[in-house]
Each structure stands twice: as structure tokens, then as C-alpha cells.
Symmetry: C2
Subunit: 150 residues, 2 copies
Amino acid sequence: MTSSIFPARGSKSEIETGSGLQPKFDENGLICAVVTDHASGELLMVGYMNDEALRRTIETGEAWYWSRSRQEYWKKGGTSGQVQKVQEILTDCDQDAIWLKVTVEGNGATCHVGYNSCFFRKIVLDDAGKPVLEHSGGERVYDPKDVYGK
Amino acid sequence: MTSSIFPARGSKSEIETGSGLQPKFDENGLICAVVTDHASGELLMVGYMNDEALRRTIETGEAWYWSRSRQEYWKKGGTSGQVQKVQEILTDCDQDAIWLKVTVEGNGATCHVGYNSCFFRKIVLDDAGKPVLEHSGGERVYDPKDVYGK
């Protein structure tokens, strides 16, 4: 999908090796954003942006997303205080993904369940060979009730 | 979207804190997979899996994707030799994203343009305040012609 904000997509060569930012949004107008902690490199979350959320993120230096479940703009940390200050933004070869390196404000955590990272469980095989989830280490760093009131 | 392979989605609490793997695939039947280098933690690429690609990845220990552009299964490294041996698989709180920690076989690179990571350009503002791309460091580690013959 083209964007009304960003330039039209050029040739494969321009997209892959050029200096023009020509992000590709999917058929729903969204691009995937991978978010890591700037200091530790830890993967914190994956979110989605439409063109306006990407524009706001670039211009303000704070991460904005498009909530697929709520169908609305979502400034990360608006409720929780866990605002993401963007230290660096990258894109990939075909410009259909965004990588934000951030520092997190507020209590410094990212996941609404109470962990630093949304990725707090790993997939392992149980004795019967069935994939199940187990905690990958890391304790809850805050009680969501204290932040979200529920 | 539900899957014919993985269990139906349970309650919010089960999904977010339980031990059941209940991945959420989007309306196209896909889930986002973030891929990092197991040793360095470097973000290598973002891919998409349908339920069968996720099943193959879990069962074989090598990363399989669904190519959105080619609309076909794609075993990473099938052509290039850059096979991703999965060291750990995680999922996030709402189980709508996958994180693969991998070691890369073959020449050890991931990007078809010739870099270790697909994320080799960062978004910066030019003198006029327009977002443009510049190399974020890191040289090409191989010539794609040697791997793909073109």
C-alpha cells in the first residue's frame, strides 16, 4: 500500500540500497515495528504503525502506534507513563519493517502484564512433544494494578 | 484468526499468563516473527509465518516462513545456505508475535543484499528536516551474486 505522507515506492534497487525512505505499508496500511531497549538490546515488544503513526514517531521522537485491536492511535506510555524515547530508527532492506531503539520512561517496563519485555515466555516441548509455554526468566517488575488500576 | 493446528484462543488471562501456546494469526493467517542472532542479540530480520510454517519451525528447529510476496513456504537458507538453526523461540503477552533466537549457517549473513542484518540503514533527518536513510554502519559481508547468481 502506498502512503499519502511518504514518497511512492521506487525501483527494487532504490528501495533496497537507496537513501530514500519509502516505507511499505500492508493492505491494512500498517508496518511492523520491532522495539528494543537502546542500552541492553533486549527485545521489548512488537507494534504496528500506519503512516501517520510513523510520521509522529519520527517527528516527535516518541513512539506512536496504531492499535489493531482498538483501531486508534496509541502513544505508548500515554496511560502507563512507559513512554518510549526513540534513540534510533532503522528500516530493513525492503522497507517493510521498522526497528526502534528506545529508552523507556516511567517505571522502565514495557509489558502491560508487568514484565520489562512482552516476550517473557518461551516455547518448549512437553514430555509428550507438545509445544507449551514456560517462563523464560525474569520476574514481574511492577503490578499492573498500580499502573492501570485494574 | 484461529488455526487448524494450534489450540483455540482461551481467555485473556490464559493467553497472557498461561502455559498454553495459543498463537494469534492475523486475518491473512500470518504471525510476525522477529529474528535475532542468538550470540550477539543483533536484530537480523522480520518474517511472517502461517500456522504450518510455525509448526515446521518448532518441529524441525529450522526457521520456516510464509513469503507474502511469493505466496509460498520459504525455508530460510534453502537457496543461500543461510539456514537459521533455532536456539530458542519465545512469544509475547498476547501471543501475536514470535521471537526466534537463531544461529545462521552458510556464510552467516541474513540479508539478501549482502549484509549480516536486513536492518543496515537508519532513518535520519536531512538539512531540510526530511527523513532519509543512511547506512548505520557495517559493510557488505558477501556479494549476493556469489550466492544467488544474480
